[in-house]
Amino acid sequence: MHARTRATVNFMKYLNSGNVSVLAGEDNFSTRHVLYLAGLTLLGVFVLSIAWEFLYEDLISGNLGGHYHPEETGERWEYVATVMVFTAVALVVPVLVSGKVIRRNVRTEQKIKSLASFPEHSPNPTLRFGSDNVLLYANAASTPFLDAIQCAVGDSVPVAWTRALNDLPTTGNQGRLEYACSGRTFSILLHPMPEAGYVDVYAHDITERIWTEDALHTVNERLEQRVNERTSKLSREIAEREQAQAALRVSEHRYRDIAESSSDWIWEMDEELRFSHYSPRLAEITGVRPEELIGKTRRDLGKGEIEDEKWHRHLMDLDARRPFRDFRYTYKHEDGRTLHFSTSGKPVFDEDGRFKGYRGTGSDITERQQAEAALSNSEQRFRNLVEGSIQGILIHRDRKPLYVNQAWADIHGYTVDEVMAMDSVDGLISEEDRARMAAYRARRMHGEEVPTWYEYQAVQKDGSLIWLENRTSITTWDGEPAIFSCVVDITERKRAEDALQKSEARFRAVLDNSPTKIHIKDEEGRYLLINRQAEILYGITDAEARCRTSYDIFPKEVADSFAGHDQRVIETGHTVEEEEEWHLPDGVRTYLTVKFPILDADGNVTSVGAIGTDITERKKADEERAELGRQLVQSQKMDAIGQLTGGIAHDFNNLLMIIDGYSNQAIQQIKRNGPAKESLAHVVEATDKAAILTQQLLVFSRRQIMEKGVVALDGVLRETLGLLERSVGERHDLKLEMDDGDICAETDSAQLGQAVMNLVINARDAMPRGGSIVVGLRVAEVGDEFTARHRGMTPGRYAEIFVKDQGSGIDPKDLPHIFEPFFTTKAQGKGTGLGLAMVYGFAQQSGMVVDVSSEPGKGSIFRLYLPTVDREPEVALPDVGNLPRGNGEVILLVEDDLSLLKLSSRTLDDLGYTVLTASDGFEALEVDDEIEGPIHLLLSDVVMPNLGGFELADILQKARPDMKIVFISGYPSNDHVPGTGIPKHATFLQKPVKQDVLARTIHAVLERDALCLAG
């Protein structure tokens, strides 16, 4: 195909160049030209017939002559002329064309005549074209060719040949061209015959030849290509080889330079394994010239310090022509050093595979060996450290263990293999800490800073929890980042810490809950701790006190004192006790502070501890206890005296009774007056005096019968002072000072009066030259301090009765004894020594307290303290100014309530009646017996033990029928009074009886009878 295309191109070039002559042969004249003329003639006839038809219709229709219109007539003639012209042309043109054709045919006949020499029987197609390029003739062999070019005799030459044929007459040269059609290629030889006016064309089918030529051409091209390629390759190879040789030369220089400048050396062995070459470096290292080694084998050089196995293996490698690497051996330098060499070599073979020896390098690895040894030692040491460490070491990546030491495994209760088999060690972290540590890892991954030291709880194999302290860092493991974790089991430490914490908490709790103040100072006097009590006392918190000294907290003089105590402890190493007085807003507190040294292991004082106990109360209590003890002793003494005197009085009374009784009997039995009878009368008289004394002794011994009731103390005092005015004497001024208002107390008013009387008499006797005696009454609020001095007394509101004089006072040494019976500082015969004893006894018996203040030369004050009562006084003097008064009428008042008896008695007395009192019915009868005169009115309680009011009245009325009767009853009227025997005409008053009602009733009852009598 390719060849075909190229042939066509060449043919076209040939045609274009004008070198090709084309034979124009004559066409088949007779057939085609006759048909052509006939056709033209028919066309002319056809045109003429149409024109005639057209004119004939007009002539027939008359349009042409009869009905002539100038305009239409003109047009029709124009038309007829046109038709005529056409008709002429139709007749002339074929004639002209026929003449041309005839001439051509003449020439064609001439040509045909020239065909006498035409190769009719040529096996190759042979054609003859006329000068008009018409095929004039073709031999028999031309048929396939003409079929191929689709041309026949008489046809024009193919267009492709036209130019070549046209050029041939001018050039007169033969032309050759190739012509391809219908898959075949022909070689066309144009042989112009100008004189003959034709061109012979000899065609030769060269298709096969073309194909062969193409094939050859292709082969040739390929061959050329391969040659070119090979040539190019060779060129490249040559160039490369040249480059390689240049590079080799460079390399040789380079390697030579390297070899000569290298720290290593190069060696070679021959096929006999004898060293044949050493680079100079070896000589530099060993000091041995290469010549000394050349020609020697490895065996010749000796084994040196090489292990046998390595040595033999190396020799076997050499013998087997095997390459070897890093064969290490030692060399003993002449300077004594042992050098370590490493050598590698490979066998060298020639192109035929024959062993030519060894070639290799050697290097001095002494330093490396030493470094490796050092590193190895270091590694071993570190490995030993790691393996033998009690700290657990884990290297992991993404929690996957990469390395774990025995300690880490042991801590967690696993074996090393078990840990290494784990995909993750997360499971060995307690759930509580797992999230926290995961957060650490996440934050670390984000580049955040996270703690590298922390504690966490790990889970052991048996599930128990342990505390670990973990230090984490980033390390490298197999070239990749990994986490280095070092843990220590701090479970015991945690427990200890926990225990310590609890211990400290307990210690702190004990400290803070201690009622004592506690602090510890260092040697410099700085507080290390203070407890809560100390905080309160010092007015500073523990935190604030830390590192401060006493001088930072207290005034200098106080701090000096404290520092001095501390210094004594430090210097002596002994405990020091000091009493400290703290002046606080609520008073002075006393602390007993014990300061003690705190020693270190060497016995040196490192700090000073202090425990201060508030002994204020204790001191006070001690003082009170001492006072109480004193009081108790005094009290017991007085009690003992009381019991003694009481017992004496009892027996003494019995004796007196006997003495008195027998004396009286004797007096009665002695009929005549005489000295004996007088003596007995003295005995009886002395017995009476003795009885009075014993009576006083009984008062002191508190064996006197008390008749207690609520009394208004001012009344008692007035009454008593009224009795005393005469006995005190003119030289003494007796004053009464009283607070306003009623001050009531429950006591025996008679004995109280007697006590006051005794005190006033003593006051008088203390001022023999006269003076002022003040008797007072007031309400006193008694506090702790006072009650502390008086056993059994409680703070509160008391009625205070005092008797104050300006006398000589009492000698302090006498004070403890003044209440003892028969103790007196008065002159012989001036006093019995029982006055104050009675006061004391009465006070003790009635719950009073006697207090004495005395200053020698300035006088004394005796104070009686009675508990006040809020009740109305049972013995109170009413205002009787407006009440009906009596006129000395005798009233027998019988009331078993003594206070009421006294009250009513006083009221009636003030109203002008003569009052006889009895505390029960029997006593009333006694009174009745004693009274010679009339008793105008019986005022009696109804209900009394043993002898009630009704019975009493009945008894009395028998002797005194005129006696009026007024009963005081708890019942509203006599109708309600239980029992029988109610006396007639009795008047009843209902309890409680107001004194005015009583006065009016009595007055009315007495008046009524008077009226009755009058009436």
């Binding site: 009774m657 019968i705 033990p945 002797a959």
Partner: protein
């Protein structure tokens, strides 16, 4: 005294005292005052025995008793007597009047107290009052 309805001679007095001398003196005193029937007992037990042995309710209509006696105090005797003879007059004679005993005696119905040494007048006055009551009740 204009009229005395009670008569001392009507009194039958039981005197109780652990002291022979006191008993003797009191007996003489009572006799001098006019008491005809005088019984004595050295202690409370003897007194009770005496009272229990007699069927006559008026055999004794006044008891004169010391307060402090061995084995049985006057108050204890008073309690025993009152359980049987609630109305019989009971006079206490005491030498030192132990307060609690006196108050106790009052509570249990002692009619009067006489302090040693007892005077004849005081004794007579008490007896007269008792005699009137006794006479009234009779």
């Amino acid at each position: 005294m204009t009229t005395i309805t009670g008569n001392i001679s009507d009194l039958n007095v039981l005197v109780v005292d652990d002291s022979f001398d006191v008993l003797n003196i009191l007996k003489n005193m009572l006799r001098n005052i006019g008491v005809n029937q005088i019984f004595t007992a050295r202690d409370g037990k003897a007194a009770l025995d005496f009272l229990g042995e007699t069927d006559d309710a008026d055999m004794v209509n006044l008891i004169l008793c010391d307060l402090v006696m061995p084995r049985m105090t006057g108050v204890e005797l008073l309690k025993q007597v009152r359980s049987v003879h609630p109305d019989i007059p009971f006079l206490i004679i005491t030498g030192h009047a132990e307060i609690r005993h006196v108050q106790d005696a009052k509570t249990h119905g002692a009619n009067a107290f006489l302090k040693k040494p007892v005077s004849m007048q005081e004794l007579k006055k008490k007896l007269l009052a008792v005699a009137r009551v006794v006479g009234h009740r009779r």
